[in-house]
């Protein structure tokens, strides 16, 4: 079932490739059907998932490269299951969003589906080499998506994206290889490595391996100072590309940080947690301040991603530094909640910006105002997403930030203070979006804004409803990830 979920998008991509070029709508519908099937399969995984049972479920293994002990080994815990569901749903929304777009639909749909297989695989892989393989399969299509369907400076942004992320991947690969060679007998199996704990505290090898992974996952997250590629990639990417980039691809870095780095080398992390903490705080404040300085709505949201990903880094640092297991678990819960919530909210906001740009032809905040008069339902939905992002209680963003802040307060007031300061800046920032874009007198250019088509409203609606649900009933998601965070905190 898990393998089916992972490879359904790839199979759909192959079907799409053999469809005739002259039937763009058929291609779009087949792609959407494939995405829906994958989502259904992911739901099937959820129904068969026993949240009370720790460890991996839906495990499937197959020998892959026996001479080096690498295996096709997939399985899910609560954390990865939540990410798989998010990925599958965002893929569906993307396919709905582009339904009427017949600009080279074949390559477009195939690339997104291929990317989805990579992303789903990343969250399921229990073998480091397999993880790396899926990681790259998730990344490479994005290069083409940005380069082919992006805006004016797309080639520059695509190249920058590719070089940054590939350099990061190679650092990860080197770290994985080092871990592999440290294991006796050599193995890439993640559960085996976690159990064996090959890295001692204070070892030079541990330090280098940690730095390699931090560099790799840090670029993908992205954390300051490795964030430079992100704003360009987001601004130049087409709307659907931005959604997948912010919604899922950044989460590969977050997932690697929490689900690979922490459990494979807790003792090394203990030594370097200060580094994580410092990066986290800098990202939180820098991301917020940089976003404040933006006039381009899309660039602004891109910078808030850097801020939001700072929370994940903070969760990782707190999960190591906090004195008690319960505070560690609290921080991890917050981090994971933030990951899922950010995927829904930021994904949704990128859709909203896409709609605005399509209709008004601009993303300049100065030229956009009073959208709520032209498009009430759209503005309402967008408003909910914005409030969710600033952490309003009742929406999903609040739960994660609240838990993280709680963990920070119970460990160190200084850290909590900085977090809170960043939170205040982002609150102002998001209110600025509401006030200057949604409210007020309509700007001349905003007059072109109309209520978007039903399917676009449905996408936005689905994301706001999910965010609301997660905000009101946090126990549902927390229940799924509970055993995972408990295991991570105990490790």
């Amino acid at each position: 079932m898990l393998s089916l979920t992972i490879f359904l998008p790839l199979a759909t991509a192959l079907v799409v490739l053999i469809l005739p070029r002259s039937r763009p709508f058929l291609i779009r519908w087949v792609a959407l059907a494939g995405a829906l099937l994958a989502f259904t399969a992911a739901l099937g995984l959820l129904t068969g998932f026993d949240a009370a049972r720790p460890g991996l479920q839906w495990r499937a293994t197959l020998p892959w490269i026996p001479p080096v002990n690498a295996a096709y080994d997939v399985g899910v815990n609560g954390f990865s299951l939540a990410l798989i569901l998010l990925t599958a749903w965002l893929l569906v929304t993307v396919m709905v969003y582009v339904l009427r777009n017949d600009d080279r639909p074949k390559g477009h749909a195939a690339l997104f589906l291929l990317m989805a297989t990579g992303l789903l695989g990343v969250f399921a892989a229990q073998d480091l080499l397999l993880f790396y393989l899926f990681f790259e399969v998730g990344l490479v299509p994005m290069y083409f998506i940005i380069g082919l369907w992006g805006h004016e400076d797309r080639r520059y942004a695509a190249m920058k994206f590719f070089l940054y992320t590939r350099a990061a991947s190679l650092a990860i690969l080197l770290s994985f290889l080092a871990l592999y060679l440290l294991m006796e007998p050599h193995t890439f199996s993640l559960p085996t490595i976690i159990e064996a704990q090959p890295l001692a505290q204070g070892s030079t090898a541990g330090g280098w391996i940690m730095l390699g992974m931090l560099l790799g996952f840090g670029v993908k997250l992205p954390t300051v100072p490795l964030h430079n590629w992100l704003p360009d990639a987001h601004v130049e990417a087409p709307t659907e590309g931005s959604v997948m980039l912010a919604g899922i691809q950044l989460k590969m870095g977050a997932y690697g940080l929490l689900a690979i780095m922490l459990p494979t080398m807790p003792r090394v992390m203990l030594e370097y947690a200060w580094l994580l903490l410092a990066l986290a705080l800098i990202s939180l404040v820098y991301g917020a301040l940089a976003a404040l300085a933006q006039q381009d709505l899309k660039r602004l949201i891109a910078y808030t991603s850097i801020n939001h990903m700072g929370y994940i880094m903070l969760a990782a640092a707190l999960a190591v530094l906090a004195p008690t297991a319960s505070v560690q678990a609290l921080a991890l819960n917050g981090g994971i909640y933030q990951i899922i919530s950010h995927g829904l909210l930021t994904g949704g906001m990128f859709f909203a910006v896409g709609v605005i740009q399509d209709q008004t032809g601009t993303r300049e905040m100065g030229r956009l105002s009073g959208l709520s008069r032209q498009a009430t339902v759209f503005s309402l939905l967008t408003g909910v997403l914005v409030f969710g992002s600033l952490g309003l209680p009742g929406l999903s963003g609040f739960i994660g930030e609240f838990q993280l802040l709680g963990a920070a307060v119970s460990w160190n007031f200084g850290v909590a203070g900085v977090t809170l300061a960043a939170l205040v800046i982002t609150t102002g920032l998001y209110l600025r979006i509401v006030i200057s874009v949604l409210w007020g007198e309509p700007h001349a250019q905003a007059a072109a804004m109309r209520e978007p088509e039903g399917r676009k409203l449905a996408i936005l609606g689905s994301l706001t409803i999910l965010s609301l649900l997660l905000g009101i009933l946090p126990s549902w998601l927390l229940g799924i990830i509970r055993e995972t965070t408990r295991g991570l905190a105990a490790g």
């Binding site: 490269i65 026996p66 001479p67 790259e136």
Partner: protein, 470 residues
Amino acid sequence: MKLWALIPELILGGLCLVLVPLAGWVRGQWRVLPGLMALLGMLACLVATARMLSWQPVMAFHGSYALDGFAHVFKLIIELSSLMTVALLMIYFRGRSQQAPAAVAVMFATLGAVGLASSRDLGLIVLFFQMMSMASYVLVALERCHRPALEAALKYFIYAGVALAIMAYGLTFLYGLTGSLNLQTIGSGLRDADGLWVTLALILILVGYGFEITLAPFHVWAPDVFAGATAPVAGFLAVVPKAAGMAALLRFMLEGMLGEMAGWPLWLAIGAAVTMTLGNLIALRQNHLKRLLAWSSIAHAGYLLMTVAVAERETGALAAIGYYLAGYLFMTLGAFAVGAHLERATGSDSYEALRGLSQHAPGTAGVLALCLLSLAGIPPLAGFAGKVFLLAAVLEGEMIGLAVIAVINMTLALYYYVKIIAEVYLYSPVQVYSMPMKKDYLALYSSCLAGILGLGIWPGPLLALLEVMG
């Protein structure tokens, strides 16, 4: 000794003898005949070599010629590359007078290369080196009326002559020190030799090997020769002499310079680091496909050499090299095949001709993109798995600094590979031309893609097979 074990060499040698008069004799439509016979011959060699993989190692001619797993693997790689080159040459020169001599020259070069993989005798090594080089000059000069081709051939000839002479000089030192031409006897005899003389001999000998495998600073011939030669020949030069040179170098070091004599791993490691860095840095500034691939093949020689440096301490290194070369042959020949296709359609291989290729010929563009992504080491393609095995071997051989240099280089290399992909996909064409996908190109491309994807996704079987090497 079993004569059967020499079947591939006998087929190649026999065909060479038959094809030389035949190639001079055929006219008109019959010109395809030598090529077809060469194809069949290579195929027979491949089957015969594959059959021998499971055999016990045999030493022929008083221990001067080894027929072991190591040799068989390299022979398979060489024969497969030659087979594909002959096919590409036949397509490229269809209906032209060069078709017949091209096939013959490839046969000679292949015989030399195959012989190098087995030679354990200094005399044989020099002989086969010469045989391979001679045939290669002919290949480069195939386009007789093309001035750059003649210049390239002359340059190649002079460089190779000097390099091989220096190498032969170095080899005489070894004979002087041990009184033997046999690598194994040399290996045991050098134990009591003066280290200074051995080091001097090693440096001189590395000039020759370095020339064939484009080890910096003996690589300078490669870009000009590649650019001057036709694309199929350039592809051949990028793969076969390199594979044969690697095989010869490995055998020389592992059998003749036992116990890391004269510190050769360090020499090779330095050479590898310089070679890959230089190759990548200069490749960044190229604007012709063949020149770019020439520099990138120099960089790849660096990756391979770093693994040769750890070959004595790490047993997995040999399999890693074999695997990498197997993947490398598909992706390099695939890229050069696209280059040949393009050269025929536009008369040029500049980036401008490549621009917007995906709109003229989506299939060809896809092949080129996959070959380049594989060369860049993107999973799940063959180049990725190959790089993983190389890096793992180097890390295991405790040359961690070298592995880090290699990774930095691989990052650097991304830029120029992706730049071409960007030209092909992201820009609109500047030239108008048609580039139909004919059946013959389609067959060649599919075999390259099958190799790249197959080796990348399912490396297990080949790795298991490569265990015969060690």
